[in-house]
Each structure stands twice: as structure tokens, then as C-alpha cells.
Symmetry: C2
Subunit: 404 residues, 2 copies
DNA sequence: TCCAATATCCTCGTACTGCGAGGATAAGAG
DNA sequence: CTCTTATCCTCGCAGTACGAGGATATTGGA
């Protein structure tokens, strides 16, 4: 078995606790009895575990409303003094952030438009939000995840066509703190959100595609993204599925990017390249004239054909469409479906993976960031740290619920 | 944490044992002291574990030749009565099989040409080999892995251009037995072998590409292949990187397949489509005339460009070339390198993943099959089964080496 | 030849996690 | 008020892992 071999001693004891917290996020509002059933915990262990986690401020138990006969159970939830994470999404025109506790529900979602798109200025705003969260939550703040509309490479933002940034160091966000920083591509994080809590729940292997300016995406396996060696995987927009005559800003030729967004629509309509391809595309989608419809057909065909090709690569259970991809398909569903089918290898055509619209809309990346940060916080190593912080572990026994 | 939640009770106790056996395969001929160091086992635990595994016929310990001062340690190896697996590789013109023990070294490699390519006849031959192994090894035979030059989909062979098969049920190989059958695409398994024991050792994320008839490949993360939902991932040959005017037998247009193998060479040379594209390509590689060289340049460019595109998708640490891919690159290294570079997104060009020739040559798929089968056999669940078979688990203590 | 140094092995007491039986508890149903 | 049902808590037991301390086997040098 390859991969990093972990030091067992300090982590093994947190394995089950980590599973419990993971279950809590997958089953918000779940009861303790359901937990014991799902995880196949012996009744005694359920008592001990919940008691321990309660003592560590990781879990809160509130009496559940009785539902039929039998002794009533308790509802599990995040502890009011438990760890929280900060999730940030830096987008083209604005940025947003939210705090999330162990149940995964983001709260205090706040946002602002960029005053200027200068990297230092934008990151300064994010840093201030982080400092505010640190002031408010103190030691409870355990991780920061940042979704960016651009390519991440070894923790740096290698490039962003959307923001016009190149090689920006993101570690300044947490410099001087011990907070773990988890930067990620927005499309990848949106894919994570779809796979965990969105339209691809239940799919083991899921492909998410998101059109904004160009196209990004993510392939997830059981909700974990394939990020590659440096976190730069999923650059589907730079697959040469398109017209080789077209030169992409990325330096390659025939990039799919150029065939599926507002720039493609403008080209097909014989109009000048739009400065805001996303807004332009939304506007073309609202037009009803035949020329616009023809352009949309062409783009939907390019989208469908490329998705078929990516299904050949990844063999997903489900494909989800985010951003403009959903309305672009909706504008020409028949053309899309035909192109998709024709892009598939024959044996896929019997039962092609369903292509469904994303469930999280614009919130995908933010939610994905929260998920990734919480994954980090509920890892065995992080739980061991948290436990050390709050001074030793919960005592055995004495598991009586002292009520909320 | 997503993914199938496993029943802990019966498997937890085999976790460390599974790690030990995995270590054994990664460190053939390793000593017990090295094991304890690498896995950070307490000295007492190392004694108990090796003793237990020895009692279960999973491990053999032989006195190590003393190397310096200090009490000599023992060399760990597979037990002579330990479990074995059967690895099979079904190729275009022939098929081969081998037996492997827990150290992963295949032995008794045997092969034969196909008398006929009829699926039933070929599978009959494999089945007879399997029966022979069952007769010889009895209960010690614990898994069978079969590499096939074709697309696997939910355990069936969906299609094979190489063999000319369509929708062949492979479960007949083990029907009537309780042996687990692990079918796999040959390129994927060769990629596993490169990642674990070949040219991509040490690379976390590795991309393997193999040209024979068309092109197949695998993306592996820490030696585990991304197989997709049905095992059909990695069909890079059917990416529309090529000329849209060309119709592929798979039903799609512009498949990369058609640009990188013997069929492409024949097309560029104005010769009729070869019945044996692989042999034809080898022959063109041996010709020195300018026309052949031009054709090889074109194919090398198509190969390099496509690999660049796939690096954009997967972001691997290393790329390995198997089958004809290595000589095709060698025939026009400059052209290949340029096309590769131009296919990459700009930020990859600073430190592009190295493209290296595969280390296992023709043995890759067979070795990969052995690796996958041994992964299965050393899984926690399989070890629990093996232990039940040999009647209870090894006694505690009394760990003295009774010498080989 | 004998002794110190070294590296490893084995033994044993301790700690912690997890199991599962048995009884206690809190509701609804009649 | 009692029976049924579902859940919770207590408690003894089993298994894995830790780590200290001593035993053991070899080399190198006196």
C-alpha cells in the first residue's frame, strides 16, 4: 500500500472520532441512535464517544423530540464552543467569505465588490476579514480555505485569466499565524460541494464543469478532488478540442475555453471580443433572435462534445454543470445531447452518465472551501491538536447528557 | 469523510499487519529493524507482529548476515506456504501468466500465442491455466488479476480494438470458484507497475501512456489508479485531439488514437491501412528513408501535443511512456519536445513534468496485475479471511525465530 | 582471549479503544 | 396502570499498542 505511511500512535485513537464528525456533516440533525446504526458502533462505544467529544467541545447533544415509542434519543450537532473555519471565495468582480462550524453550514456570509483588482489590495481585504474572524473566534478558528478563480500551483496562484493575475503568493493571507491555509481552484471546490452536498451526492466518481470565463472543472472520487501533484489538475479549458486556428492566451492552440464562453458567442455573432465575457454571455442568452440562437447552438455543441470526451477520460457516474454551463445547455438541449452522445465512445452510449445542473449555483466554491477546510479540521491529526489545546481528553464514563 | 464507511471491528486488528505486508513489497529483502524504523513501530510491537504473521504463514524470517556491530537482525520475506496470486496478461497475439507471492516478484512466467482469437477459446486457455494453478497451490491461491488490451466496464470487456472483441464476459474465468477476479485494462495496470516499481517510483501523481494499437493510459495517485466509476477511465485515445475529418471505429471523430499509431504512419506515408498496426509501426521505425522520417515527425508531434494536453488535465509529477510511445519519441525527440511544450499551459513550462521511458517494457501489464492482486490479498479484509482459514491467529509472545 | 561498544531482540506492565451483555430508563399503546 | 418498544448506561473483557528494562549476539580493540 503506497502513499504516506502515517504515524499510528497519535492518530489511531482519533480515527473513530473523525468518522463520527464526518458522519455529522453528512447527516445534519442526525440522532445518536442513527449514528450508532450507520457506523455500526456498539452501544457502549456510542456513549463513550459522544461523551468524549462533548467534553472536548466538539459535539453538542440536545434531547430529540420523541418520534414514536421507545426512549427518546438525542440530536447531535456542533458544539457552540467548537472549532470553526473560514471559507473565502475570490471571484471576478467581488469576493465573499463565511464561517462554518462542524455541521458544515456556512453562516455570516459576507461579501464585497473589489474596489480595485490589484492583487495586493484584494488580498489585503481578505486578510482583514481573517483578522476580524481571529479576533472574534480566537483559538476556535482552525483553518482557512480560499477559492480563487484561477490556477493553483503549489499553493501559489499561477494564473488567473478572470482576475488578470499572474503568480500571486497567497501565503501572505496567513503569514505570521499558525493557521493552515488551503487554497483551491474555484471550479474544483465547486465540484467538491456538488459531490458532497449537491447534485452529485451518491456518485462515487463525479465530474463537475463550470463555465464562466473559459471552463474549469473537477473530477472527484467519493467527494475528494483529484488535484494532481501541484493542485493544478482540472484545466479542461485547455484541452485542444477546438479550432486549431485560434490561439489561446494560455499559449496553446485550439483550447476548448475559446469555444464555450462569451468570447465564442461573440465570435460566432461577428461581434468584437467582449471585455466581460460572462456578462456578455448572459445577455446573449436573453436575446431571442435567430443569430443568437445559432451561436448558442454552436456553443452548446462544443460544450456537449467536450463533455463526452471528458467522460471517456474519467468515466464518471455523474456530470454536473455549474455557472453558465447549465443555461448554455438549456438554450439548445437537443444539440447538446447529440454532441454529447457523439463524443462518447460507443460502449458508453448505452448508459451515458447523466448530465445534471449543479445544485449550489453561485455558492458552490464557497461551500466547497468550507468542506475542504472542515475536512482538514476533522482529520485525525487536527483532532489530536484540538484535544491538546483544550487540555487532555474527556474522561471515560459519566456520559450523561447534562442537557443543552 | 466520504466513501464507504467500513466495519471497523473485524478489520481494525489487521490494519498494522496490512501495512507491514505493504512495506515488505516496497522493501524486498528488508530487515525487521528497518521495518520497525520505517513504520515507527515500538520494538515490542515489531516482535509481536512478525511473530503473529509468521504463525499465520504470511511472513518468513531468516537470519540476516551481520552488517557491522550489534545484534544481527532478520530479513523478512514471503512465507513459503503463504498466499499467492495469479496475474494474467491477454495481448494481441499471445497471452501470459505468472504467479506471485507476497514479495511481489512474479515467477513461473508462462506464455503462449493465441491459436485463435475467438474469445471463448482464449478465455478457455486462461481458465485451464487457472485450474492448473488451483491444483498446484490449492487454498494458497487467493486472487486472479487479468490485464486485457481493451476497455473494461463493470467487470466486462466492453470492447477491444486490438483483439477485435466486443462485450465479453470475463467472469467465466472464475465462475464456480470463490476466487476474486480483478480484471483491468492493460495500460492502466502497466501504469500501476510504473508508479509502484518502475520509472515513476516516488511520484505521487503519475501519468502513463502506452501506444500499441491506438493509445491507452493511466493516471495514478500514490500508485493507485484512477479507474472511474466502471473501470473504464483512461481512454485517452478517444480524445478529439486529431483531425475531425477522420472517423474512429469507436464512433467519435478526430480521435487521438488515429494520429499516434501504425495507422497514422501508413496514412502519412500514403500506404494502405495495415492489418497489424503495431508490427507496421516497428517496421517504419526501422526504415531510414526521408518519407518515413517525416511520418514519424508528424506522429511524434501528435504524441507530444496530446501529452501536453493531458498534463493540463491531470497535473502529474511524472509522465512515463510505454509500448511504442518510447521509440516514437526517440525517432523525433526535438519535434516531440516542442509539441509537448506547446501543448502545455504557460505556467507548466517552467518546470514541466519529465517524460521518461517506462522501466518495465512489455512486462508492465503483467506486473501491474500482480500488484493489484497482491493489494487485494493484503487488504485488511482479505487478511482476516486468510487468518480464519489457517485457524485462529498467531499466539502472543513466543516470537523467537526458529530459523529458516 | 576477554571486554567494551553497539544494535537488536524479548519480556512485561500499562494504557487505551472497542465489544457486547444486561439492566435501567423514558416514552407510547392499550 | 401496565406492557411494549427503543434507546441509553454500566461494567467486565479482549485486543492492540506503547515503552522501559534487561537479555542477547555480534564487532572491534585491548
Amino acid at each position: 500500500m503506497p502513499g504516506p505511511i502515517r504515524r499510528r500512535a497519535e492518530q489511531a485513537r482519533w480515527h473513530t472520532a473523525s468518522q463520527v464528525l464526518a458522519w455529522l456533516r453528512e447527516n445534519p440533525g442526525g440522532t445518536r441512535a442513527a449514528l450508532a446504526r450507520d457506523l455500526q458502533l456498539a452501544s457502549g462505544l456510542a456513549t463513550e464517544l459522544t461523551g468524549r467529544l462533548r467534553a472536548l467541545s466538539l459535539l453538542a447533544e440536545t434531547p430529540a423530540p420523541p418520534q414514536g415509542r421507545g426512549r427518546p434519543t438525542t440530536i447531535l450537532g456542533p458544539h457552540p464552543q467548537g472549532p470553526v473555519v473560514l471559507a473565502v471565495d475570490v471571484r471576478m468582480a467581488d469576493w465573499r467569505y463565511a464561517v462554518a462550524g462542524l455541521d458544515g453550514r456556512p453562516y455570516d456570509v459576507t461579501g464585497a465588490r473589489h474596489a480595485t483588482r490589484d492583487p495586493a489590495a484584494v488580498l489585503g481585504c481578505v486578510r482583514r476579514a481573517l483578522e476580524a474572524a481571529r479576533a472574534r473566534y480566537g483559538d476556535r478558528l482552525r483553518a482557512v480555505a480560499v477559492a480563487v478563480a484561477g490556477t493553483i500551483h503549489d499553493g501559489r496562484l499561477a494564473q488567473s485569466a478572470t482576475l488578470g493575475w499572474r503568480d500571486v503568493d497567497l501565503t501572505v493571507l496567513t503569514a505570521g499565524t499558525t493557521l493552515p491555509l488551503l487554497p483551491g481552484n474555484d471550479a474544483i471546490l465547486a465540484g467538491v460541494a456538488e459531490a458532497r452536498t449537491g447534485a452529485a451526492v451518491g456518485a462515487g466518481a463525479a465530474l463537475h464543469l463550470m463555465v464562466e470565463v473559459g471552463i474549469g472543472g473537477a473530477f472527484t472520487v467519493y467527494g475528494r478532488p483529484a488535484t494532481g501533484a501541484h493542485g493544478a489538475a482540472g484545466e479542461y479549458g485547455h484541452q485542444p478540442y477546438g479550432d486549431r486556428a485560434l490561439l489561446c492566451p494560455c499559449g496553446a492552440r485550439g483550447c476548448w475555453d475559446l469555444d464555450v464562453d462569451g468570447r465564442a458567442l461573440a465570435r460566432h455573432l461577428g461581434e468584437p471580443a467582449p471585455s466581460d465575457p460572462r456578462g456578455y454571455a448572459r445577455q446573449v442568452l436573453d436575446r431571442g433572435d435567430p443569430a443568437a440562437r445559432r451561436a448558442l447552438e454552436t456553443v452548446a455543441a462544443a460544450l456537449g462534445a467536450g463533455i463526452g470526451a471528458l467522460v471517456n477520460v474519467h468515466d464518471p457516474d455523474t456530470v454536473t454543470l455549474g455557472g453558465l454551463a447549465a443555461p448554455l445547455r438549456a438554450a439548445a438541449p437537443g444539440t447538446f445531447a447529440r454532441a454529447y452522445d457523439q463524443g462518447l465512445m460507443a460502449f458508453h452510449r448505452g448508459q451515458p452518465p447523466p448530465v445534471v445542473d449543479a445544485a449550489h449555483g453561485d455558492d458552490g466554491a464557497l461551500r466547497g472551501a468550507a468542506i475542504v477546510a472542515l475536512d482538514h479540521v476533522t482529520s485525525e491529526a487536527a483532532l489530536a491538536q484540538w484535544s491538546a489545546r483544550s487540555g487532555g481528553r474527556g474522561a471515560r464514563g459519566s456520559g450523561a447528557v447534562v442537557d443543552a
